[in-house]
Amino acid sequence: MMKGLKKWRLFSLLAVMMVFLSGCGEDYLSTLKPSGEVGKQQLNLLLMTTIIMTIVVVVVSVIYLLAFVKYRRSKVGENVIPKQVEGSHTLEVIWTVIPIILLLIISVPVVITTYKFADVAAMDEVDAEGNKTALTVNVTAKLYWWEFEYPNQGIITAQELVVPTGEKVYFNLKAADVKHSFWIPAVGGKMDTNVENLNKFYLEFDKESKDLKDGVFYGKCAELCGPSHALMDFKVKALSPEAFDAWVASMKATEGQVADKNAVDLGEKTFANNCLSCHAVSGVGGPGVGPNLTAFGDRNRVAGFLEHNEENLKAWIKNPAEFKPGNLMMKQDGSEPIYGQLTDEEIDALATYIMSLSVEK
């Protein structure tokens, strides 16, 4: 038995060491390496509760092991009948009051931060000219992609959220079909996108994303939403305020941009005939049926999770269901994409054209 216990302790030690050795996850994804004020406060809460709870676990374990070691039958004697103790009022009071105190200590910062994180009053503040002062992003979660609309700037994009550092960014969250949940682990906790109401919260981005491994923070859908829930990723580009303003300006400059049905370029022509009815190529406008592709060439991933190259884009266009089962680019019966089967030549040209759509290059 003791041998077994030692083994167990050794194992937990190993587990703890492994955790230390592997660090705390990746800085573009881990809640343990936050790059924003909200995430940092949440990490502080995590550390505070972990410390208190570790003390609890240690105290319980010590008493428990002590009792176990001292009072084993082999030590006490085979035929000893222990005193049948009924209980102890003093002890009951002690182990009722101490946990209450610990929980009260925890609940103070909990209640304060709960209210703080829910404070979105600044969303409605306006300057002297009546313009909103805070940056707001309308997030719409759709089966299996994300739409990001900037109502005050009049621009819209998809799959890659672009935000400035150093200020609170407010979010209006909504789902278009089924419930999803909007989560950027390395920046702050999540909030659900419900189908019937608008949820509001804010995040802050302290660090520019360009130095990260892929140059972006990873965003996740955290609520089961169908077969491709695991693949409903998005990316976040955090830019310096100047770079963000420049990005907004170049997005605005794409106003009115369309693909020409009679274009010489086969890619643009194919796009105009098969894709344009759902996918806009102008960053100015309202929500679309499919993701806005104005800045597709600047993106980090195809479909949110595939490596960003023409091969993957072609494979995606050929058969989107192979990559994201249940996605709405397929006909209801799942036989072929809603735009029908394109020839290889058309797909090649189309991929080149879509890759060329960019506002940053």
């Binding site: 038995m1 077994g4 167990w8 492994m18 592997s22 705390c24 996850g25 990746e26 994804l29 881990s30 809460l45 995590l46 509760t49 972990t50 709870m53 609890v56 676990v57 319980v60 374990s61 428990y64 009792a67 176990f68 009072y71 084993r72 039958r73 004697g77 000893v80 222990p82 049948q84 103790v85 209980g87 102890s88 002890l91 009722t96 929980l103 925890i106 609940s107 909990v110 209640v111 709960t114 079909d177 089924v178 419930k179 949940s181 682990p185 702050g188 906790g189 999540k190 909030m191 109401n197 949820n199 996740k220 955290a222 609520e223 089961l224 169908g226 077969p227 829930h229 695991a230 089962p325």
Partner: protein, 627 residues
């Protein structure tokens, strides 16, 4: 030779089990059915862990993975943990309170068959066009969107088996209140009986919201009702509330009897009465009460606003207090005792640190702003498996060893039992400890795959290895159970330190449990008698005639009617299956016909005469022996 002592043919034994109203036989049936579904759900978990073993794996498809995770959760909670605990409640509660059966033996049988056929119905979905795939929570927007009949199987299957659970819960409450032996006051009841009663009370209040929710879902899917369709003015958040008003107490419905089982094992193998019995009772009631006040902590990210979140955060933390009381009382029971490390005690000793670890992560998640990060990540997966496996499954496995002689008059092998414990216990911590960190490192739950380069690969592999070890542990336990068939009869009080009434009954237990109703003179009746040098409990009556209920096939027929009707309801929305309405009518006709028969035909049971009792006892225990 009377009919009671004749050897029966195999067919007669099967028929006897199908029609039985004996709580002990129903307990064995619950045990077998629960084990079957536990094995199925465990197998589903292994398939999922193999899929997640490495990034970008294609062992199972995305859609099938969602079916697996849904059925794993649903089966484990409704169809494995609940019936396994009901097995112990059925077997032990009447024996612990000195009763010859439950208050409503007929309903006991009906409860079992509703549960079992509902469960079979739900599992048939795998072979009939796909299992439910919207998670065990079946959140409304996704479950209404889900194509095929999966969700209909979920709704109808749970409705039927839920009715069985509710009936059984009511039965236990009435049994415990009305059937206690003379002298068995409430504050002399064994703690397991207490937890069975509180847990049944929770069933009574928690299952109706689920029933309502499922009914509304049924209307939405069958008749185009619009309770949850937001485009028609419905609201999906209502489903979340209804589900969790049921769903959170459900956790306590399961964990309280588990606490009760440990509260029997720990005093027995410490040779010491339960420390702070009355505060244990109080803590049980308090946990049950607070369990209804905290459901919205499952919805911190739904957007209920800061006031609701803050209130539910603090209320949730409050549950830590009575739970802590229980843990300290268990430790103080050990303290000053004489601990014998048998297999059940090993499970109890493993339970305490595991459950505390699961409890403290619960407090961490109760901190609402912190929960915004933890919610729906692998952290919560780790947390609830620590509570459910570390708390409930260890209780079930430990109690299987502990109570095997009560069930089958055989002992399980101790050496194999201890090996099983270590394999399972190490596997369990290997699987789930690491998942806390996966969650903190940004891994959402319910994902069928993940890409490389997110720092999750190694931890997922470790977790899968642990899950396989747990699988080996379960197989070893089943082998142990099968080996016990060939074992020697265990006899009365085989652990030597039994404290409560169930250990005082000679083995094998006769179908009427007690020849004479015992007289209870304090907590731990059997222990008191043994300390006074008695080899028999004090009786409250002389040997006389015993009134017993008759077997009945009506519960099976009622349940079968529901089972058939469910298929009619399932296919009713399909335009190409006009026959479905007739199936529905036939099924309901069978059910109501059987209920009518039950109502019109009086069944007063039968009297077992004194001479029969003496003959049975002679047959069981030999002439004049072991009375």
């Amino acid at each position: 030779m009377s009919s009671y002592t004749q050897k029966k043919s195999f067919g007669a034994i099967v028929w006897d089990y199908i029609t039985t109203v004996d709580h002990k036989k129903l307990a064995i049936m619950y045990l077998l059915a629960g084990t079957l579904f536990f094995a199925i759900a465990g197998f589903e978990a292994l398939l999922m862990r193999i899929q997640l073993m490495k990034p970008n794996n294609d062992f199972v498809s995305a859609g099938f993975f969602n079916e697996l995770l849904t059925m794993h959760g649903t089966t484990m909670l409704f169809l494995a943990a609940t019936p396994l605990l009901f097995a112990f409640m059925n077997m032990l509660v009447p024996l612990q309170i000195g009763a010859r059966d439950v208050a409503f033996p007929f309903l006991n049988s009906l409860g079992f068959w509703l549960f079992f056929l509902g469960a079979v119905f739900l599992h048939l979905s795998f072979f009939m066009g796909g299992a439910p795939d919207a998670g065990w929570t079946s959140y409304a927007s996704l479950s209404l969107y889900s194509p095929g009949h999966g969700i209909d199987f979920y709704v109808l299957g749970l409705q039927i088996s839920g009715a069985g659970t509710l009936i059984s819960g009511i039965n236990f409450i009435v049994t415990i209140i009305t059937m206690r032996a003379p002298g068995m006051t409430f504050m002399r009841m064994p703690l397991f009986t207490w937890t069975a009663m509180i847990s049944s009370a929770l069933i009574l209040f928690a299952f109706p919201p689920l029933t309502i929710g499922l009914l509304m879902m049924l209307f939405d899917r069958m008749f185009g009702g619009n309770f949850f369709d937001h485009t028609m003015g419905g609201n999906t958040v209502i489903w979340e509330h209804l589900f969790w008003i049921f769903g959170h107490p459900e956790v306590y419905i399961l964990v309280l009897p588990a606490f009760g089982l440990f509260s029997e094992i720990i005093p027995t193998f410490s040779r010491k009465r339960l420390f702070g019995y009355s505060s244990m009772v109080f803590a049980t009631i308090l946990i049950g009460f607070l369990g209804f006040m905290v459901w919205a902590h499952h919805m911190f990210t739904t957007g209920l606003g800061p006031t609701a979140n803050a209130i539910f955060a603090v209320a949730t933390m409050a549950i830590g207090v009575p739970t802590g009381m229980k843990v300290f009382n268990w430790i103080l029971t050990i303290w000053g005792g004489s601990i014998k490390v048998t297999t059940p005690m090993l499970y109890a000793l493993g339970f305490i640190p595991s459950f505390v670890a699961g409890g403290v992560t619960g407090v961490m998640q109760a901190a609402a702003p912190l929960d915004y990060q933890l919610h729906d990540s692998y952290f919560i997966v780790a947390h609830f498996h620590y509570v459910i496996v570390g708390g409930i499954v260890t209780a079930l496995f430990g109690s299987a060893h502990f109570y095997w002689p009560i069930f089958f008059n055989r002992m399980l092998n101790e050496t194999l039992g201890k090996i099983t414990f270590w394999v399972f216990f190490i596997g369990f911590h290997l699987t789930f400890f690491i998942q806390h960190f996966l969650g903190l490192m940004g891994m959402p739950r319910r994902v069928f795959t993940y890409m490389e380069g997110q720092g999750w690969d190694n931890f997922n592999l470790i977790s899968t290895i642990g899950a396989l070890m747990m699988g080996v542990g379960v197989i070893l336990l089943v082998i142990n159970c099968l080996l016990s068939i060939k074992g020697e009869p265990a006899g009365r009080d085989p652990w030597g330190d039994g404290r409560t009434l169930e250990w005082s009954i000679p083995q094998p237990i006769p179908f009427y449990n007690f020849r004479q109703t015992p007289l209870v003179r304090g907590l731990d009746t059997w222990w008191i008698e043994k300390q006074e040098g008695n080899t028999e409990v004090t009786f409250a009556e002389p040997v006389g005639d015993v009134h017993m209920p008759n077997n009945s096939a009506i519960p099976v027929v009622i349940s079968l009617g529901m089972f058939i009707a469910a298929f009619g309801a399932l296919y009713n929305p399909d335009a190409d299956k006009p026959w479905s309405i007739y199936i529905l009518i036939i099924g309901l006709a069978i059910t109501f016909g059987a209920m009518l028969t039950r109502s019109l035909k009086d069944d007063h049971g039968f009297h077992l005469h004194k001479e029969d009792i003496l003959e049975i006892e002679e047959h069981l225990y030999g002439k004049g022996g072991n009375k």
